[in-house]
């Protein structure tokens, strides 16, 4: 009985730890072709050290990207040419933001914060595909969390899964702006 209790406690601890360990994405579904506000939630630092920088790669197919201003943080944008041209309605888009970096801030391990972008899923992206946003989180003391492992179907959840959202049919829910 005692052993069972210990096991149960351990299992519970693992579950809750796993739930906190993600970089969360709001919303989890984004309709194609609509400008949407997308937030990335950071719920902890690296081994209790405060977060000082967040880097995010923008996947191909996510266009018209703008970071939302964030007091206390410097924001750097990297632009680049897409490997495959994307369609924004009738317009072809060949380049855009490929990476956003938030630096100079300080997010204590115990606090939660969201890093927002405004963006649009290209109309050339098929609905029901996942858009993955690899995130690197840097902390005081040199600690790094790399949320860059894309979860594979049928595989156990990776330790540091890449945040992402599902693309839905245009006009199918989501927050249009």
């Amino acid at each position: 009985m005692k052993k069972a209790l210990i096991l149960a406690t351990t299992a519970f601890a693992c579950l809750t730890a796993a739930a906190q360990a993600h970089v969360g994405v709001t919303p989890s579904e984004v309709p194609g072709g609509q400008t949407t506000l997308i937030g990335f939630g950071i719920g902890h630092g690296c081994d209790a050290a405060a977060t000082t920088a967040v880097r995010m790669q923008i996947p191909e197919g996510v266009i018209s990207v703008q970071p939302v201003a964030k007091p206390g943080w410097e924001i750097t944008i990297t632009r680049g040419t897409y490997a495959n041209p994307q369609m924004n309605g009738e317009t072809q888009v060949t380049e855009g933001v490929t990476m956003i970096e938030w630096t100079g801030g300080q997010l204590p391990n115990e606090w939660y914060d969201q890093f927002w972008i405004r963006a649009r899923v290209a109309t050339s992206v098929e609905p029901h595909t996942m858009m993955w946003f690899p995130v690197v989180q840097e902390c005081e003391g040199g600690g790094v969390n790399r949320w860059i492992t894309v979860p594979a179907e049928g595989q156990p959840e990776p330790e540091e899964p890449t945040p992402g959202f599902m693309v839905t049919e245009p006009g199918e829910g989501g927050h249009a702006h």
Binding site: K3, I6, Q57, V136, R146, I148
Partner: protein
């Protein structure tokens, strides 16, 4: 206790009944194994013994050197489960355990476990109080002297000496010995407890020690010994009831010694018990007689001559069973004469036997020379006899000292029962294990060195999807054994000068198919992971292959890794009658590769053929990229592989005893390394070239046409790793193991094949003409 006495009664009554075979317990295995490095502290550690045991103590000495008393482990059958604390931190910890086996002797040991990282060897952490053992030995000798010289002497006094009363001097000595023996019994009891829980001498009267001692079989011995000593004192004090009480005393001695100890627990237990009983009882009679006899001889006169006469008439009837029982005990306890000098138990036995031989020689002199003399020259004979009997007495005391030393040595019988475990530690050179891991965008060629259980290192060469070298920022390598519940342990790898990534410090406790994972951070946002099996060998099973033939599902050293001079690995066959084999590889459809075989003078063995080598019969094992694929049972085998990749197929012939066939200095095997591509199937219109590999002289040039399938048969007089650039095939070639390269000449160009020696010598050129 009561049950044991009852069973004693039944044995005495001559009722034969089956009892479970008890013996000196030996640890067979632990889970996790000692030396294991675990990702997390285990919640329990299981110890498996060769028989039922009773746990008496468990302590954990943590990496910080702190000692934690663990709750008393539970035993279910031969498995003892130790509940570990929940807050065990990182580092190397030592679990110290003690159990008592059914023969009453405690055994103890340690399990070394590391959580996360290894911070020590765990050796020398557990120390027991060095004073405990000598104290136990002294207490034992004192109890023996009280029993055999004291209580045993009362039997002589009442049954042989009577009606002549004992002289005052031996009577006083016997009384003192018995009283000392009675005092020594509680001391021996407490010391037993201290030894059982592995405590210090200072804890001799602690509750734990006494409670533990109470549960051991030695307690029963001591209680009966106490009864025997009290009966002896009564017999001495009240000569009128001397016969009855001295009989109780001498039977008590026999019973006491047969209730515990190695010998009385040897199978068949009922017989062993009886033999110990007879041996102890007759020893008590003989040894007990010596002291009073010596003093009787100090007195002149007919009375002492009569006593001596009665003794010499009776003693052969006691000596014969004594010696027969003694010999039987030796036969039970010692499996082979070699054990006598190879084990501490045997050496003590040898000393005892020498002393006993001397004793018997003295006894014979007494019986056949001096005893007849006493009628003719009473004074002279008595003087001589006094001396020889005194010498016998001294020898008997020394023998007791030796016998008390057996308490600390398990008999060869028990050691041999554990022998299969102990001898498996034989050091042995284990070949490296290889694994080629691939996913869609990432590959790793990994060497685990050595490829056997124990401490290993892993080296990874990172590859792109098309086999080119891949650079990385960071690499971690993990090894786990899910089948055995061993969580992956990940180690940061360090980049070596040659571009490979090396991770040290793995400890693999068990053999089997381990899961190998290579995690490479290629760039800031690009981390790639590849997982696959790697086969870890058991060094002991490699050694046991030739000796026993241990079934069909273990692994073989293949190709260049086989040592032709090792008779455990190979059978050298007559080249004329040896089996031969040839293998062809054709691509029936993209990704479907058909292996075809031609055997001569060979057939596949079945279980009915047994496990001993029979010429012309055996197994053929198929390996793909070093991983066991199947046992061949027909002349064809189909492989389903990624249509775009590098593969090496190895098929070796092994005898029924699993040794590899060798003829004329070459393994009877076939090795084909092939480069498959989705564009054109392999194996149509094949052109064959024989290519001897040499690192000296002018490298040959092989000219082929684009679109042909090329087969290069490489042979070499020395072991070389050859890399054919462009085609990107890499193989090891050895004198005993030629190899064939198979590929399509897809792109025109001139490609070099280099040996991976210090000079990267070119060994041949391949020109593909458009």
């Amino acid at each position: 206790m009561l049950r044991r006495l009852l069973s004693t009664f039944f044995v005495l009554a001559g009722v034969a009944f089956a009892t479970p075979a008890f013996s000196h317990a030996t640890l067979i295995s632990t889970e996790p194994a000692t030396g294991a490095v675990l990702a997390e502290a285990p919640s329990v550690v299981t110890l498996t013994f060769n028989e039922l045991v009773e746990p008496t103590a468990a302590r954990l000495i943590t990496a910080d050197g702190e000692t934690i008393q663990l709750p008393l482990p539970t035993a279910i059958g031969p498995d003892v489960t130790v509940l570990m604390p929940t807050d065990v931190g990182e580092g190397t910890h030592v679990l110290s355990w003690r159990v008592v086996s059914s023969d009453g002797h405690p055994i103890g040991g340690t399990v070394v476990l590391s959580v996360g990282t290894v911070t020590g060897t765990g050796e020398g952490v557990v120390t027991s109080d060095p004073a405990v053992r000598p104290a136990i030995w002294v207490a034992r000798v004192l109890v023996y002297l009280g029993l055999f010289i004291g209580a045993g002497g009362t039997f002589f006094a009442a049954w042989i000496s009577a009606p002549s009363p004992l002289p005052a001097q031996p009577k006083r000595i016997m009384r003192v010995l018995m009283v000392v023996g009675i005092v020594a019994i509680p001391v021996a009891f407490a010391l037993q407890g201290v030894d059982l829980i592995g405590a210090d001498l200072g804890d001799v009267f602690s509750g734990d020690a006494l409670a533990t001692a109470w549960s051991s079989t030695y307690t029963e011995t001591l209680v009966v010994a106490l009864i025997a000593l009290v009966a002896g004192l009564v017999a001495l004090a009240r000569p009128a009831q001397g016969r009855l009480f001295s009989l109780v005393a001498i039977l008590g001695i026999g019973l006491a010694l047969s209730l515990s100890g190695h010998a009385s627990r040897a199978p068949p237990e009922a017989l062993s018990w009886l033999v110990v009983f007879i041996h102890a009882t007759t020893v008590a009679f003989w040894a007990g007689a010596l002291l009073p006899l010596r003093y009787h001889l100090g007195r002149n006169g007919k009375e002492s001559a009569a006593v001596l006469g009665r003794f010499s008439a009776v003693i052969p009837h006691a000596l014969l069973p004594l010696v027969v029982a003694g010999v039987l005990l030796i036969l039970i306890q010692v499996d082979s004469p070699a054990d006598i000098f190879a084990t501490d138990y045997g050496r003590l036995l040898a000393i005892k036997l020498s002393l006993v031989t001397l004793l018997l020689a003295l006894a014979l002199v007494n019986r056949f020379r001096l005893t007849p003399l006493i009628r003719r020259q009473p004074a002279e004979a008595a003087r001589l006899l006094r001396r020889t009997v005194g010498a016998e007495l001294l020898l008997v005391v020394i023998v007791f000292g030796v016998v008390a030393g057996w308490r600390f040595t398990p008999p060869p019988r028990s050691l041999n029962a554990a022998g299969s475990v102990a001898s498996s530690e034989t050091p042995r050179v284990v070949p490296d294990a290889f694994a080629l891991l691939r996913t869609g965008n990432f590959g790793a060629s990994v060497t685990v060195s050595p490829g056997g259980t124990g401490a290993v290192a892993a080296s990874a060469e990172l590859l792109t999807a098309d086999g080119a070298a891949l650079e990385a920022r960071e690499v971690r390598i993990a090894l786990g054994y899910p089948a055995g519940g061993i969580e992956p342990v990940a180690v940061d790898a360090a980049r070596q000068e040659d571009g490979t990534w090396r991770a040290d410090g793995f400890y693999l406790p068990v053999a089997g198919d381990w899961t190998l994972t290579v995690i490479a951070l290629i760039s800031d946002f690009d981390r790639r992971t590849v997982t696959g099996p790697v086969t870890i060998a058991d060094p002991a099973s490699l050694a046991a292959i030739a000796a026993a033939g241990d079934g069909h599902d273990h692994d073989h050293t293949t190709g260049p890794g086989v040592d032709l001079t090792d008779p455990f690995q190979v059978i050298d066959l007559d080249p004329v009658t040896a089996p031969t084999m040839a293998m062809s590889v054709t691509e029936a459809a993209p990704g479907t590769f058909d292996l075809g075989f031609v055997f001569e003078r060979f057939r596949f063995g079945t279980d009915a053929d047994g496990y001993d080598h029979v010429p012309g019969i055996g197994h053929a094992h198929v390996y793909v990229n070093g991983i066991y694929e199947t046992d061949l049972t027909a002349n064809a085998h189909r492989l389903a592989l990624d249509p775009d990749g590098h593969y090496e197929v190895y098929v070796g012939l092994n005898g029924l005893d699993h040794r590899a066939f060798v003829a004329d200095g070459r393994l009877v095997e076939a090795r084909v390394a092939f480069r498959a591509s989705a564009t054109a199937p392999l194996g149509n219109d094949t052109r064959v070239f024989d290519v001897p590999i040499a690192t000296t002289g002018e490298p040959p040039t092989i000219r082929v046409r684009q679109g042909e399938t090329i087969e290069l048969r490489l042979t070499s007089l020395e072991t070389q790793v050859v890399h054919l650039h462009g085609i990107d095939l890499e193989v090891a070639v050895a004198p005993q193991s030629p190899v064939t390269l198979l590929f399509n000449a897809e792109f025109p160009g001139r490609f070099v094949a280099e040996a991976h020696d210090a000079a990267e010598s070119p060994v041949f050129f391949l020109e593909i003409l458009p």
